[in-house]
Symmetry: C2
Subunit: 306 residues, 2 copies
Amino acid sequence: MTTQAIAVDVGGTEIKAALVDVGPDAAATLRQVRRRTPRGADGPATADLVIDTVADIVSELRTGDARAVGVVVPGIVDEQHGLGVFSANLGWRDEPLRDRLAERIDLPLAFGHDVRAGGLAEARFGAARGMRNVIVMPIGTGISAAMIFEGRIHSADGRAGEVGHVDIGHGEPCQCGGTGCVEAVASSAAVARRYTARTGTPVDGAAAVAAAVRDGDPDAVAVWHEAVDALARGLVTLTAVLAPEGIVLGGGLAMAGRLLTEPLAARLDDMLLPFHRRPRLELAELGDTAGCLGAALLATEGLSAP
Amino acid sequence: MTTQAIAVDVGGTEIKAALVDVGPDAAATLRQVRRRTPRGADGPATADLVIDTVADIVSELRTGDARAVGVVVPGIVDEQHGLGVFSANLGWRDEPLRDRLAERIDLPLAFGHDVRAGGLAEARFGAARGMRNVIVMPIGTGISAAMIFEGRIHSADGRAGEVGHVDIGHGEPCQCGGTGCVEAVASSAAVARRYTARTGTPVDGAAAVAAAVRDGDPDAVAVWHEAVDALARGLVTLTAVLAPEGIVLGGGLAMAGRLLTEPLAARLDDMLLPFHRRPRLELAELGDTAGCLGAALLATEGLSAP
Protein backbone atom coordinates (compact mmCIF):
# COMPACT_ATOMS: atom_id res chain seq x y z
CA MET A 1 0.00 0.00 0.00
CA THR A 2 1.45 3.32 -1.04
CA THR A 3 0.04 6.84 -0.90
CA GLN A 4 0.87 9.74 -3.19
CA ALA A 5 1.72 13.07 -1.62
CA ILE A 6 2.97 16.40 -2.87
CA ALA A 7 6.00 17.42 -0.84
CA VAL A 8 7.50 20.91 -0.69
CA ASP A 9 10.77 21.83 1.07
CA VAL A 10 11.18 25.60 1.29
CA GLY A 11 14.86 26.46 1.61
CA GLY A 12 16.70 29.74 1.99
CA THR A 13 17.73 29.80 -1.66
CA GLU A 14 15.66 27.11 -3.36
CA ILE A 15 12.25 25.47 -3.08
CA LYS A 16 12.41 21.74 -3.78
CA ALA A 17 9.17 19.94 -4.46
CA ALA A 18 8.19 16.47 -5.56
CA LEU A 19 5.30 14.14 -6.13
CA VAL A 20 6.21 11.23 -3.87
CA ASP A 21 4.74 7.76 -3.61
CA VAL A 22 5.12 6.85 0.06
CA GLY A 23 5.15 3.25 1.25
CA PRO A 24 5.92 1.81 4.67
CA ASP A 25 9.60 1.13 3.94
CA ALA A 26 10.38 3.18 0.85
CA ALA A 27 9.36 6.28 -1.00
CA ALA A 28 9.58 6.85 -4.74
CA THR A 29 9.88 10.32 -6.24
CA LEU A 30 7.62 10.42 -9.30
CA ARG A 31 8.20 14.02 -10.40
CA GLN A 32 10.36 16.88 -9.19
CA VAL A 33 10.25 20.66 -9.40
CA ARG A 34 12.84 23.16 -8.21
CA ARG A 35 12.37 26.92 -8.02
CA ARG A 36 14.43 29.77 -6.71
CA THR A 37 12.97 30.96 -3.38
CA PRO A 38 11.30 34.33 -4.05
CA ARG A 39 12.24 37.32 -1.91
CA GLY A 40 10.14 40.32 -0.96
CA ALA A 41 11.16 43.62 0.58
CA ASP A 42 10.72 42.20 4.07
CA GLY A 43 9.73 39.03 5.93
CA PRO A 44 5.95 39.38 5.49
CA ALA A 45 6.37 40.18 1.78
CA THR A 46 8.65 37.16 1.39
CA ALA A 47 6.05 35.01 3.15
CA ASP A 48 3.40 36.21 0.65
CA LEU A 49 5.61 35.33 -2.30
CA VAL A 50 6.60 31.94 -0.84
CA ILE A 51 2.94 31.05 -0.26
CA ASP A 52 2.11 32.00 -3.87
CA THR A 53 5.00 29.93 -5.20
CA VAL A 54 4.17 26.89 -3.07
CA ALA A 55 0.52 27.04 -4.18
CA ASP A 56 1.65 27.22 -7.84
CA ILE A 57 4.01 24.28 -7.44
CA VAL A 58 1.31 22.20 -5.77
CA SER A 59 -1.04 22.86 -8.72
CA GLU A 60 1.70 21.93 -11.12
CA LEU A 61 2.51 18.63 -9.37
CA ARG A 62 -1.08 17.71 -8.64
CA THR A 63 -2.42 14.47 -10.05
CA GLY A 64 -5.68 12.67 -9.41
CA ASP A 65 -3.86 10.29 -7.09
CA ALA A 66 -2.28 12.90 -4.82
CA ARG A 67 -3.97 12.55 -1.45
CA ALA A 68 -2.18 15.17 0.67
CA VAL A 69 0.40 17.95 0.72
CA GLY A 70 3.36 18.37 3.09
CA VAL A 71 5.26 21.67 3.36
CA VAL A 72 8.39 22.13 5.46
CA VAL A 73 10.18 25.41 6.13
CA PRO A 74 13.45 26.44 7.82
CA GLY A 75 14.19 28.39 11.00
CA ILE A 76 12.19 28.06 14.17
CA VAL A 77 8.93 26.32 13.36
CA ASP A 78 6.08 25.63 15.74
CA GLU A 79 4.42 22.62 14.16
CA GLN A 80 1.63 22.51 16.69
CA HIS A 81 0.38 26.01 15.96
CA GLY A 82 1.46 26.01 12.31
CA LEU A 83 3.79 28.98 12.68
CA GLY A 84 7.00 30.03 11.01
CA VAL A 85 8.22 31.54 14.29
CA PHE A 86 11.48 32.92 12.96
CA SER A 87 13.71 32.56 9.95
CA ALA A 88 16.95 34.54 9.85
CA ASN A 89 17.17 33.77 6.17
CA LEU A 90 13.62 34.48 5.02
CA GLY A 91 12.84 37.16 7.58
CA TRP A 92 9.41 36.07 8.78
CA ARG A 93 8.25 36.10 12.39
CA ASP A 94 5.22 34.30 13.82
CA GLU A 95 3.82 33.85 10.34
CA PRO A 96 0.75 31.54 10.35
CA LEU A 97 2.06 29.68 7.33
CA ARG A 98 0.02 26.51 7.80
CA ASP A 99 -3.33 28.25 7.84
CA ARG A 100 -2.39 30.61 5.03
CA LEU A 101 -1.23 27.70 2.88
CA ALA A 102 -4.34 25.69 3.72
CA GLU A 103 -6.50 28.51 2.30
CA ARG A 104 -4.75 28.10 -1.02
CA ILE A 105 -4.44 24.32 -1.22
CA ASP A 106 -7.46 22.10 -1.62
CA LEU A 107 -5.95 18.94 -0.10
CA PRO A 108 -5.16 17.86 3.47
CA LEU A 109 -2.06 19.84 4.48
CA ALA A 110 0.75 18.92 6.87
CA PHE A 111 3.24 21.56 7.94
CA GLY A 112 6.63 21.08 9.55
CA HIS A 113 10.27 21.93 10.04
CA ASP A 114 12.80 21.10 7.34
CA VAL A 115 15.45 19.56 9.61
CA ARG A 116 13.02 17.58 11.78
CA ALA A 117 11.18 16.30 8.73
CA GLY A 118 14.51 15.33 7.14
CA GLY A 119 15.42 13.47 10.32
CA LEU A 120 12.14 11.60 10.15
CA ALA A 121 12.92 10.60 6.55
CA GLU A 122 16.42 9.38 7.50
CA ALA A 123 14.84 7.40 10.34
CA ARG A 124 12.26 5.81 8.07
CA PHE A 125 14.16 5.35 4.82
CA GLY A 126 17.79 6.29 5.37
CA ALA A 127 20.83 6.04 7.63
CA ALA A 128 18.88 6.20 10.90
CA ARG A 129 16.61 3.29 10.00
CA GLY A 130 16.04 0.91 12.87
CA MET A 131 17.39 3.24 15.57
CA ARG A 132 14.91 4.32 18.26
CA ASN A 133 17.13 7.03 19.78
CA VAL A 134 19.03 8.89 17.13
CA ILE A 135 20.20 12.38 16.27
CA VAL A 136 20.22 13.50 12.65
CA MET A 137 22.39 16.55 12.22
CA PRO A 138 22.72 18.39 8.91
CA ILE A 139 25.82 20.58 8.83
CA GLY A 140 25.29 23.40 6.38
CA THR A 141 25.22 27.18 6.72
CA GLY A 142 24.19 26.48 10.30
CA ILE A 143 23.91 23.36 12.42
CA SER A 144 20.74 22.09 13.97
CA ALA A 145 19.54 18.64 14.76
CA ALA A 146 16.50 16.44 14.51
CA MET A 147 16.30 14.41 17.70
CA ILE A 148 14.34 11.21 17.69
CA PHE A 149 13.60 9.72 21.11
CA GLU A 150 11.89 6.34 21.31
CA GLY A 151 10.93 6.72 17.70
CA ARG A 152 9.35 10.17 18.06
CA ILE A 153 10.64 13.53 16.89
CA HIS A 154 11.34 15.90 19.79
CA SER A 155 10.19 19.40 18.87
CA ALA A 156 9.46 21.17 22.20
CA ASP A 157 7.16 23.66 20.46
CA GLY A 158 9.75 24.06 17.73
CA ARG A 159 12.58 25.27 19.93
CA ALA A 160 14.57 22.05 20.29
CA GLY A 161 17.70 21.08 18.41
CA GLU A 162 19.85 24.22 18.39
CA VAL A 163 22.98 22.12 18.65
CA GLY A 164 24.95 24.66 16.61
CA HIS A 165 24.67 27.12 19.47
CA VAL A 166 26.06 24.94 22.21
CA ASP A 167 29.06 26.75 23.70
CA ILE A 168 32.01 24.40 23.50
CA GLY A 169 34.51 26.89 24.82
CA HIS A 170 36.64 27.96 21.84
CA GLY A 171 35.70 31.56 22.60
CA GLU A 172 35.14 32.73 19.02
CA PRO A 173 32.14 34.97 18.45
CA CYS A 174 29.11 33.55 16.66
CA GLN A 175 26.63 35.42 14.48
CA CYS A 176 23.97 34.62 17.08
CA GLY A 177 25.57 36.98 19.56
CA GLY A 178 27.07 34.24 21.71
CA THR A 179 30.62 32.93 21.77
CA GLY A 180 32.10 29.48 21.50
CA CYS A 181 29.20 28.06 19.46
CA VAL A 182 29.79 24.78 17.62
CA GLU A 183 28.64 26.29 14.34
CA ALA A 184 30.98 29.30 14.55
CA VAL A 185 33.82 26.86 13.79
CA ALA A 186 32.22 23.73 12.37
CA SER A 187 29.41 24.70 9.99
CA SER A 188 30.26 24.37 6.33
CA ALA A 189 29.95 28.15 6.05
CA ALA A 190 32.38 28.60 8.96
CA VAL A 191 34.91 26.20 7.45
CA ALA A 192 34.97 28.20 4.21
CA ARG A 193 34.98 31.56 5.99
CA ARG A 194 37.76 30.58 8.39
CA TYR A 195 39.95 29.20 5.61
CA THR A 196 39.59 32.48 3.73
CA ALA A 197 40.29 34.53 6.86
CA ARG A 198 43.42 32.49 7.51
CA THR A 199 44.83 32.43 3.99
CA GLY A 200 43.31 35.44 2.24
CA THR A 201 42.18 33.04 -0.49
CA PRO A 202 38.45 33.08 -1.23
CA VAL A 203 36.94 29.59 -1.53
CA ASP A 204 33.66 28.40 -2.92
CA GLY A 205 32.38 26.59 0.17
CA ALA A 206 33.54 23.82 2.45
CA ALA A 207 33.96 21.35 -0.41
CA ALA A 208 36.89 23.42 -1.69
CA VAL A 209 38.47 23.34 1.75
CA ALA A 210 37.95 19.56 1.90
CA ALA A 211 39.70 19.26 -1.45
CA ALA A 212 42.61 21.33 -0.12
CA VAL A 213 42.79 19.05 2.93
CA ARG A 214 43.14 16.08 0.58
CA ASP A 215 45.95 17.96 -1.21
CA GLY A 216 47.74 18.44 2.11
CA ASP A 217 47.30 22.22 2.34
CA PRO A 218 48.35 22.87 5.97
CA ASP A 219 45.94 25.80 6.43
CA ALA A 220 43.06 23.69 5.21
CA VAL A 221 44.17 20.85 7.50
CA ALA A 222 44.24 23.22 10.49
CA VAL A 223 40.78 24.67 9.78
CA TRP A 224 39.38 21.16 9.17
CA HIS A 225 40.93 19.86 12.36
CA GLU A 226 39.36 22.68 14.38
CA ALA A 227 35.97 21.96 12.82
CA VAL A 228 36.26 18.25 13.64
CA ASP A 229 37.29 19.05 17.20
CA ALA A 230 34.33 21.43 17.65
CA LEU A 231 31.90 18.85 16.28
CA ALA A 232 33.36 16.20 18.54
CA ARG A 233 32.88 18.43 21.58
CA GLY A 234 29.29 19.11 20.62
CA LEU A 235 28.60 15.43 20.02
CA VAL A 236 30.16 14.41 23.33
CA THR A 237 27.77 16.76 25.09
CA LEU A 238 24.80 15.33 23.19
CA THR A 239 25.97 11.83 24.02
CA ALA A 240 26.37 12.53 27.74
CA VAL A 241 22.90 14.02 27.98
CA LEU A 242 20.90 12.00 25.45
CA ALA A 243 22.81 8.75 24.90
CA PRO A 244 21.66 8.20 21.29
CA GLU A 245 22.32 4.87 19.60
CA GLY A 246 23.46 6.74 16.52
CA ILE A 247 24.34 10.14 15.14
CA VAL A 248 23.70 10.75 11.44
CA LEU A 249 25.66 13.57 9.82
CA GLY A 250 24.27 15.30 6.76
CA GLY A 251 24.38 18.60 4.93
CA GLY A 252 27.22 20.14 2.97
CA LEU A 253 30.04 19.22 5.34
CA ALA A 254 29.08 15.55 5.34
CA MET A 255 29.63 15.48 1.57
CA ALA A 256 33.31 15.15 2.58
CA GLY A 257 32.45 11.59 3.65
CA ARG A 258 35.21 9.73 5.45
CA LEU A 259 37.40 12.84 5.51
CA LEU A 260 34.87 14.02 8.10
CA THR A 261 33.72 10.83 9.78
CA GLU A 262 37.08 9.12 10.33
CA PRO A 263 38.83 11.86 12.34
CA LEU A 264 35.52 12.69 14.03
CA ALA A 265 34.97 9.11 15.15
CA ALA A 266 38.56 8.94 16.46
CA ARG A 267 38.21 12.24 18.34
CA LEU A 268 34.86 11.16 19.79
CA ASP A 269 36.34 7.88 20.89
CA ASP A 270 39.13 9.77 22.70
CA MET A 271 36.73 12.10 24.44
CA LEU A 272 33.91 9.78 25.45
CA LEU A 273 34.18 8.44 28.97
CA PRO A 274 33.78 4.79 29.90
CA PHE A 275 30.18 5.20 31.10
CA HIS A 276 29.06 7.01 27.93
CA ARG A 277 27.24 5.09 25.28
CA ARG A 278 29.29 4.88 22.06
CA PRO A 279 26.92 6.11 19.37
CA ARG A 280 27.27 4.82 15.81
CA LEU A 281 28.42 7.61 13.50
CA GLU A 282 26.76 7.43 10.08
CA LEU A 283 26.55 9.57 6.96
CA ALA A 284 23.08 10.65 5.89
CA GLU A 285 21.77 8.65 2.93
CA LEU A 286 19.06 10.87 1.52
CA GLY A 287 21.13 13.94 0.65
CA ASP A 288 19.18 17.07 -0.19
CA THR A 289 15.98 15.08 -0.77
CA ALA A 290 15.57 14.34 2.96
CA GLY A 291 13.44 17.43 3.61
CA CYS A 292 11.12 16.62 0.72
CA LEU A 293 10.75 12.97 1.71
CA GLY A 294 10.09 14.09 5.28
CA ALA A 295 7.40 16.49 4.07
CA ALA A 296 5.83 13.60 2.16
CA LEU A 297 5.90 11.49 5.35
CA LEU A 298 4.23 14.26 7.35
CA ALA A 299 1.58 14.52 4.64
CA THR A 300 0.75 10.82 4.53
CA GLU A 301 0.96 10.32 8.31
CA GLY A 302 -1.35 13.30 8.75
CA LEU A 303 -3.96 11.35 6.79
CA SER A 304 -4.05 8.55 9.34
CA ALA A 305 -3.68 10.82 12.41
CA PRO A 306 -6.74 11.46 14.59
CA MET B 1 -9.46 5.49 43.11
CA THR B 2 -6.14 4.92 44.82
CA THR B 3 -3.78 1.95 44.83
CA GLN B 4 -1.39 0.92 47.58
CA ALA B 5 2.19 0.15 46.65
CA ILE B 6 5.36 -0.61 48.55
CA ALA B 7 8.11 1.72 47.34
CA VAL B 8 11.84 1.25 47.95
CA ASP B 9 14.54 3.80 47.06
CA VAL B 10 18.02 2.27 47.42
CA GLY B 11 20.56 5.03 47.99
CA GLY B 12 24.31 4.99 48.43
CA THR B 13 24.06 5.39 52.19
CA GLU B 14 20.42 4.77 53.06
CA ILE B 15 17.47 2.71 51.85
CA LYS B 16 14.21 4.64 52.11
CA ALA B 17 10.99 2.69 51.85
CA ALA B 18 7.33 3.43 52.28
CA LEU B 19 3.85 2.10 51.92
CA VAL B 20 2.25 4.62 49.57
CA ASP B 21 -1.35 5.16 48.56
CA VAL B 22 -1.16 6.41 44.98
CA GLY B 23 -3.96 8.39 43.39
CA PRO B 24 -4.11 10.21 40.08
CA ASP B 25 -3.08 13.61 41.48
CA ALA B 26 -1.63 12.87 44.88
CA ALA B 27 0.14 10.18 46.85
CA ALA B 28 -0.07 9.61 50.60
CA THR B 29 2.71 7.93 52.54
CA LEU B 30 1.08 5.57 55.05
CA ARG B 31 4.19 4.09 56.68
CA GLN B 32 7.91 4.64 56.31
CA VAL B 33 11.05 2.63 56.96
CA ARG B 34 14.68 3.73 56.66
CA ARG B 35 17.71 1.43 56.85
CA ARG B 36 21.39 1.95 56.37
CA THR B 37 22.44 0.50 52.98
CA PRO B 38 24.38 -2.71 53.68
CA ARG B 39 27.84 -3.15 52.19
CA GLY B 40 29.60 -6.33 51.20
CA ALA B 41 33.25 -6.93 50.33
CA ASP B 42 32.58 -6.14 46.68
CA GLY B 43 29.81 -5.17 44.27
CA PRO B 44 28.21 -8.62 43.93
CA ALA B 45 28.31 -9.13 47.72
CA THR B 46 26.70 -5.71 48.21
CA ALA B 47 24.01 -6.63 45.67
CA ASP B 48 23.26 -9.81 47.68
CA LEU B 49 22.91 -7.84 50.89
CA VAL B 50 20.81 -5.11 49.28
CA ILE B 51 18.43 -7.71 47.81
CA ASP B 52 18.08 -9.36 51.26
CA THR B 53 17.39 -6.02 52.91
CA VAL B 54 14.85 -4.93 50.28
CA ALA B 55 13.02 -8.26 50.62
CA ASP B 56 12.93 -7.84 54.41
CA ILE B 57 11.61 -4.29 54.16
CA VAL B 58 8.91 -5.34 51.72
CA SER B 59 7.74 -8.06 54.15
CA GLU B 60 7.74 -5.53 56.95
CA LEU B 61 5.66 -2.96 55.02
CA ARG B 62 3.34 -5.45 53.41
CA THR B 63 -0.37 -5.16 54.10
CA GLY B 64 -3.31 -6.94 52.56
CA ASP B 65 -3.99 -3.89 50.41
CA ALA B 66 -0.52 -3.57 48.87
CA ARG B 67 -0.90 -4.41 45.20
CA ALA B 68 2.63 -3.96 43.85
CA VAL B 69 6.24 -3.14 44.69
CA GLY B 70 8.52 -0.54 43.08
CA VAL B 71 12.27 -0.55 43.65
CA VAL B 72 14.60 2.16 42.35
CA VAL B 73 18.40 2.13 42.48
CA PRO B 74 21.19 4.61 41.67
CA GLY B 75 23.89 4.65 39.01
CA ILE B 76 23.34 3.50 35.45
CA VAL B 77 20.13 1.50 35.32
CA ASP B 78 18.70 -0.29 32.33
CA GLU B 79 14.99 -0.38 33.13
CA GLN B 80 14.11 -2.38 30.06
CA HIS B 81 16.37 -5.31 30.94
CA GLY B 82 16.10 -4.86 34.70
CA LEU B 83 19.83 -4.32 35.21
CA GLY B 84 21.88 -2.32 37.64
CA VAL B 85 24.45 -1.61 34.92
CA PHE B 86 26.90 0.29 37.08
CA SER B 87 27.01 2.01 40.43
CA ALA B 88 30.21 3.77 41.47
CA ASN B 89 28.88 3.87 44.99
CA LEU B 90 27.55 0.33 45.43
CA GLY B 91 30.01 -1.36 43.11
CA TRP B 92 27.74 -3.59 41.08
CA ARG B 93 27.98 -4.14 37.32
CA ASP B 94 25.30 -5.62 35.06
CA GLU B 95 23.52 -7.03 38.08
CA PRO B 96 20.08 -8.50 37.14
CA LEU B 97 18.46 -6.81 40.11
CA ARG B 98 14.89 -6.89 38.83
CA ASP B 99 14.80 -10.64 38.27
CA ARG B 100 16.67 -11.38 41.48
CA LEU B 101 14.26 -9.19 43.47
CA ALA B 102 11.25 -10.74 41.73
CA GLU B 103 12.33 -14.19 42.99
CA ARG B 104 12.10 -12.89 46.54
CA ILE B 105 8.97 -10.76 46.33
CA ASP B 106 5.56 -12.26 45.80
CA LEU B 107 3.90 -9.18 44.28
CA PRO B 108 4.13 -7.52 40.84
CA LEU B 109 7.50 -5.74 40.78
CA ALA B 110 8.54 -2.57 38.95
CA PHE B 111 12.21 -1.64 38.77
CA GLY B 112 13.75 1.70 37.87
CA HIS B 113 16.30 4.44 38.29
CA ASP B 114 16.22 6.70 41.34
CA VAL B 115 16.64 10.00 39.52
CA ARG B 116 14.26 9.22 36.66
CA ALA B 117 11.64 7.89 39.06
CA GLY B 118 12.04 11.02 41.18
CA GLY B 119 11.56 13.15 38.07
CA LEU B 120 8.37 11.28 37.30
CA ALA B 121 7.13 11.99 40.83
CA GLU B 122 7.93 15.72 40.53
CA ALA B 123 6.10 15.73 37.18
CA ARG B 124 3.03 14.04 38.65
CA PHE B 125 2.84 15.48 42.15
CA GLY B 126 5.50 18.16 42.50
CA ALA B 127 7.20 21.17 40.93
CA ALA B 128 7.12 19.85 37.37
CA ARG B 129 3.37 19.26 37.41
CA GLY B 130 1.68 20.34 34.21
CA MET B 131 4.88 20.65 32.17
CA ARG B 132 5.20 18.33 29.16
CA ASN B 133 8.89 19.04 28.48
CA VAL B 134 10.82 19.41 31.69
CA ILE B 135 14.17 18.53 33.20
CA VAL B 136 14.36 17.52 36.86
CA MET B 137 17.90 17.79 38.13
CA PRO B 138 18.92 16.71 41.63
CA ILE B 139 22.24 18.24 42.66
CA GLY B 140 23.88 16.05 45.26
CA THR B 141 27.13 14.13 45.38
CA GLY B 142 26.83 14.05 41.60
CA ILE B 143 24.49 15.66 39.10
CA SER B 144 22.25 13.79 36.76
CA ALA B 145 18.88 14.61 35.29
CA ALA B 146 15.51 13.10 34.61
CA MET B 147 14.37 14.35 31.25
CA ILE B 148 10.70 14.29 30.43
CA PHE B 149 9.79 14.83 26.79
CA GLU B 150 6.14 15.11 25.82
CA GLY B 151 5.24 13.64 29.17
CA ARG B 152 7.51 10.59 28.90
CA ILE B 153 10.75 9.86 30.71
CA HIS B 154 13.74 9.61 28.34
CA SER B 155 15.99 6.76 29.40
CA ALA B 156 17.85 5.66 26.25
CA ASP B 157 18.51 2.22 27.74
CA GLY B 158 19.51 3.87 30.99
CA ARG B 159 22.35 5.96 29.62
CA ALA B 160 20.62 9.32 29.30
CA GLY B 161 20.88 12.25 31.68
CA GLU B 162 24.57 12.51 32.55
CA VAL B 163 24.32 16.28 32.72
CA GLY B 164 26.99 16.42 35.42
CA HIS B 165 29.57 15.29 32.90
CA VAL B 166 28.95 17.93 30.27
CA ASP B 167 32.24 19.76 29.69
CA ILE B 168 31.59 23.45 30.24
CA GLY B 169 35.19 24.47 29.82
CA HIS B 170 36.47 25.38 33.30
CA GLY B 171 39.27 22.87 32.82
CA GLU B 172 39.23 21.33 36.28
CA PRO B 173 39.61 17.56 36.47
CA CYS B 174 36.56 15.48 37.36
CA GLN B 175 36.50 12.14 39.19
CA CYS B 176 35.12 10.61 36.00
CA GLY B 177 38.43 11.08 34.24
CA GLY B 178 37.27 14.01 32.13
CA THR B 179 37.85 17.72 32.67
CA GLY B 180 35.53 20.70 32.84
CA CYS B 181 32.52 18.68 33.99
CA VAL B 182 29.60 20.61 35.51
CA GLU B 183 29.64 18.46 38.63
CA ALA B 184 33.36 18.97 39.29
CA VAL B 185 32.46 22.53 40.34
CA ALA B 186 28.72 22.56 40.99
CA SER B 187 27.71 19.37 42.81
CA SER B 188 27.04 19.81 46.51
CA ALA B 189 30.07 17.60 47.17
CA ALA B 190 32.23 19.82 44.93
CA VAL B 191 31.07 23.00 46.65
CA ALA B 192 32.10 21.64 50.04
CA ARG B 193 35.37 20.16 48.74
CA ARG B 194 36.37 23.33 46.89
CA TYR B 195 35.62 25.53 49.88
CA THR B 196 37.85 23.36 52.05
CA ALA B 197 40.59 23.31 49.41
CA ARG B 198 40.49 27.10 49.21
CA THR B 199 40.35 27.89 52.92
CA GLY B 200 41.83 24.85 54.65
CA THR B 201 38.65 24.77 56.75
CA PRO B 202 36.75 21.46 56.68
CA VAL B 203 32.98 21.90 56.20
CA ASP B 204 30.12 19.54 56.70
CA GLY B 205 28.63 19.73 53.20
CA ALA B 206 27.29 22.40 50.88
CA ALA B 207 24.78 23.65 53.47
CA ALA B 208 27.65 24.94 55.59
CA VAL B 209 29.07 26.77 52.58
CA ALA B 210 25.64 28.25 51.85
CA ALA B 211 25.48 29.48 55.46
CA ALA B 212 28.92 31.07 55.04
CA VAL B 213 27.71 32.78 51.84
CA ARG B 214 24.84 34.29 53.84
CA ASP B 215 27.40 35.50 56.38
CA GLY B 216 29.37 37.21 53.62
CA ASP B 217 32.45 34.94 53.76
CA PRO B 218 34.28 35.97 50.56
CA ASP B 219 35.73 32.48 49.96
CA ALA B 220 32.30 30.94 50.25
CA VAL B 221 30.89 33.61 47.93
CA ALA B 222 33.59 32.84 45.33
CA VAL B 223 33.03 29.07 45.46
CA TRP B 224 29.25 29.57 45.30
CA HIS B 225 29.56 31.96 42.38
CA GLU B 226 31.64 29.44 40.45
CA ALA B 227 29.08 26.72 41.13
CA VAL B 228 26.23 28.94 39.94
CA ASP B 229 28.18 29.85 36.81
CA ALA B 230 28.90 26.20 36.04
CA LEU B 231 25.25 25.24 36.53
CA ALA B 232 24.16 28.12 34.31
CA ARG B 233 26.49 26.96 31.55
CA GLY B 234 25.16 23.43 31.78
CA LEU B 235 21.56 24.62 31.76
CA VAL B 236 22.14 26.89 28.76
CA THR B 237 23.40 23.88 26.84
CA LEU B 238 20.36 21.82 27.86
CA THR B 239 18.09 24.68 26.88
CA ALA B 240 19.68 25.14 23.44
CA VAL B 241 19.36 21.46 22.66
CA LEU B 242 16.15 20.46 24.42
CA ALA B 243 14.16 23.67 24.97
CA PRO B 244 12.38 22.51 28.13
CA GLU B 245 9.48 24.54 29.51
CA GLY B 246 10.95 24.19 32.96
CA ILE B 247 13.98 23.05 34.92
CA VAL B 248 13.40 21.75 38.43
CA LEU B 249 16.39 21.78 40.78
CA GLY B 250 16.56 19.33 43.65
CA GLY B 251 19.04 17.53 45.85
CA GLY B 252 21.26 18.93 48.56
CA LEU B 253 22.34 22.09 46.77
CA ALA B 254 18.73 23.12 46.10
CA MET B 255 18.13 23.18 49.86
CA ALA B 256 19.81 26.60 49.64
CA GLY B 257 16.60 27.81 47.96
CA ARG B 258 16.71 31.33 46.59
CA LEU B 259 20.41 31.63 47.39
CA LEU B 260 20.78 29.21 44.48
CA THR B 261 17.85 30.04 42.21
CA GLU B 262 18.11 33.84 42.19
CA PRO B 263 21.70 34.19 40.96
CA LEU B 264 21.22 31.17 38.71
CA ALA B 265 18.13 32.66 37.06
CA ALA B 266 19.98 35.95 36.54
CA ARG B 267 23.04 34.23 35.06
CA LEU B 268 20.83 32.09 32.79
CA ASP B 269 18.98 35.16 31.64
CA ASP B 270 22.30 36.80 30.72
CA MET B 271 23.52 33.79 28.81
CA LEU B 272 20.41 32.67 26.94
CA LEU B 273 20.16 34.02 23.41
CA PRO B 274 17.05 35.64 21.98
CA PHE B 275 15.96 32.50 20.10
CA HIS B 276 16.30 30.25 23.15
CA ARG B 277 13.22 29.32 25.11
CA ARG B 278 13.33 30.79 28.63
CA PRO B 279 12.67 27.81 30.88
CA ARG B 280 10.97 28.32 34.25
CA LEU B 281 13.40 27.61 37.07
CA GLU B 282 11.75 25.85 40.00
CA LEU B 283 12.79 24.20 43.25
CA ALA B 284 11.84 20.55 43.67
CA GLU B 285 8.88 20.07 46.02
CA LEU B 286 9.18 16.45 47.07
CA GLY B 287 12.61 16.57 48.72
CA ASP B 288 14.18 13.22 49.51
CA THR B 289 10.84 11.43 49.14
CA ALA B 290 10.81 11.91 45.35
CA GLY B 291 12.59 8.62 44.64
CA CYS B 292 10.17 6.68 46.84
CA LEU B 293 7.10 8.32 45.35
CA GLY B 294 8.51 7.65 41.90
CA ALA B 295 9.02 3.99 42.80
CA ALA B 296 5.39 3.87 43.94
CA LEU B 297 4.31 5.40 40.61
CA LEU B 298 6.31 2.83 38.66
CA ALA B 299 4.71 0.08 40.74
CA THR B 300 1.13 1.22 40.21
CA GLU B 301 1.62 2.13 36.54
CA GLY B 302 3.18 -1.28 35.99
CA LEU B 303 -0.14 -2.78 37.11
CA SER B 304 -2.02 -1.11 34.27
CA ALA B 305 0.74 -1.56 31.63
CA PRO B 306 0.27 -4.22 28.95
